[in-house]
């Protein structure tokens, strides 16, 4: 018997050090790896293994500037994620990764940033937003637009309150359907974009949300003359191996990108010919 010590299938051991139910569907986890930091970059993902149940790809929602632990926000959508909701502090997970091409943080340096997050898209985007907050002087004007279905679906509520208070960030948010105590905007996320003033040549738009959202948000950004290669998306596919091999996450595009290796972040210029976002 040969032990493959450098097998890429081996798992790093992560222990949940804190967990909190955020909404009916989403739970937040803070995880500490026994072998040190995750050492990821904003926009990357990990494969989370619950031993005996299986694996699923999950975006890291914390910034690498936060050391010691990393965070995941998990929607109970499939078999593994439903199981994951039954886990809490002290439970162990297997972790592979980080995987994927991160947001082009270096290229963004010195530019204005417009973040557009729809629903759970705030999770991967938060890794970048918090990175930018922690390195705030490296960037120009920062606008954050957030859309969710109803006020109670909003994630990271306390943090968002902080963003709203900060003077170096412009934050707006909208809900599709209102609730009695909601005083903010009502309408789709696209309705917020015309109100933002941008200098298109020096602005990066970073858009993360459900597949249906991309087409409409991108159209609004193009209307503002934002260059195609400065519109950054993070696409969703089922990455089963994370190593560009298993085939599940391949995108129908002339370049046949593997979402796990060539993405999940892409410029609009790279993926505009894709059959679907």
């Amino acid at each position: 018997m040969t032990e493959i010590k450098n097998s890429n299938w081996r798992l790093r051991k992560g222990q949940i050090v804190a967990a909190r139910q955020m909404t009916d569907l989403e739970k937040w986890f803070e995880i500490k790896l026994e072998d040190g930091d995750l050492d990821h970059e904003p926009g990357q993902f990990v494969q989370v293994e619950i031993y005996g149940v299986g694996e699923a790809p999950i975006s890291v929602c914390s910034s690498p500037t936060k050391r010691g632990t990393f965070e995941l926000t998990v929607r109970a959508a499939g078999r593994l994620t439903r199981h994951m909701h039954s886990l809490g502090k002290g439970d162990w997970l297997g972790i592979r990764g980080p995987f994927g091409k991160p947001f082009p943080v270096k290229l963004m340096t010195g530019n204005d940033l417009l973040f557009v997050a729809g629903g759970l898209g705030i999770a991967p985007l938060r890794s970048l937003i918090n990175y930018v907050m922690d390195n705030r002087r490296e960037f120009g004007k920062v606008d954050i637009l957030l859309g969710c279905r109803t006020p109670k679906d909003m994630l990271f509520g306390e943090e968002i309150e902080q963003w709203q208070k900060r003077l170096d960030v412009n934050f707006s948010c909208t809900v599709d359907r209102t609730a009695p105590d909601w005083k903010g905007n009502v309408g789709l996320i696209t309705s917020l974009i015309p109100g933002v003033t941008i200098n298109p040549e020096k602005t990066f738009g970073v858009v993360v949300g459900p597949p249906i959202m991309y087409k409409f948000v991108i159209a609004e950004l193009l209307k503002k003359d934002m260059p195609e290669r400065q519109i950054i998306l993070s696409l969703e596919r089922h990455m089963k191996c994370g190593m560009g091999k298993c085939g599940h996450c391949q995108i129908d595009h002339p370049k046949n990108y593997y979402c796990c290796k060539d993405g999940p972040t892409f410029t609009y210029e790279e993926v505009k010919e894709a059959k679907r976002f």
Binding site: N8, E49, Y51, G78
Partner: protein
Amino acid sequence: MNYHILKKDGLDGFVKKLARQMKVCAPVAKGHGAFAFEEVSSAAEISLKYVPTILPPKKYFMPPREKMLDFDLNGDKPKDAANLEPEKLALFGVHTCDLAGIQCLNMVFSERPRDYNYLLRKENIFIIGLECNEYCDGNASCALVGNHYPNGGYDLFFTDLGDRFIVHVNTQKGEELAESLELPKAAPTDLSALEKARDAKKHVFQNEIGVGPKLLPEIFSRGMESKVWQELGRRCVSCGNCTNVCPTCYCFDVSDTINLDMKTGYRTRTWDSCQFETFAAVAGGENFREERAHRQRHRYYRKFKYPLDKFYRSFCTGCGRCTRACMAKISLKDTLKTLAAGYK
């Protein structure tokens, strides 16, 4: 490198001697005109004239089910290890199309992050190729992709010269084996006989679809919206036969099994198929390749477009297995012809 000679009546002795050194697998007749690579111990069991086996040799490099990781949940925290027992193996009688298929998989799995399970198995497999002097059947399209001649990928390579095989030695390992089995060196007359056999093949093997292979990338670049995909989609039953039997299809699924003790278990890699309805579905409910037409199109593009950009070679080896195994009689050659006709 060297050429040796093996008389046909010496083949049995060759196989038996080889079988004493390692497990030997070769094409064996399974009835109904079908063949399979199986363990053999004598030449009598081997079918030298065979239509490509039901499953290609990839089953030895990437088994249909393969354990990737053992885990143990006893104790404070989980433990795991990737263990593999690679089998020392000689594949005998591998056609040039399947040699090409193995070369394709080699490229995929040696690309970083590497797949050490595959690489470890590969290192333990000795490959003996066998030349086709004529077509196996009408489903093959090896001449289209240039795989009717050997393009490397073997340790030893046999060509039938009537009463004897001329054996091309391609590796040091091959040379050592040829010498240990005391195969005599080939004479100049043997080499000219080989040249003659290769020449004769020029007339036997002709481009099967009447369109130059250099034109295929362009045909595929422009063929995304061709009606042929809808037509295939109407007939396809999404059974996954075509991908299972393909020598270069390697897509897989990974799943966990927990043992009855509820404390130990393992992760398994299983062959998967892009033809299955949920292959590109995500947990949120979105399915990125919902239609059969799009899944069939995807399969063809994974043979004729994507690997050409990425690996500079076609991942269709021309073996014809997908056509033979298709329950809906979808023919690769016909599909290419229709696609090419639309391009003109």
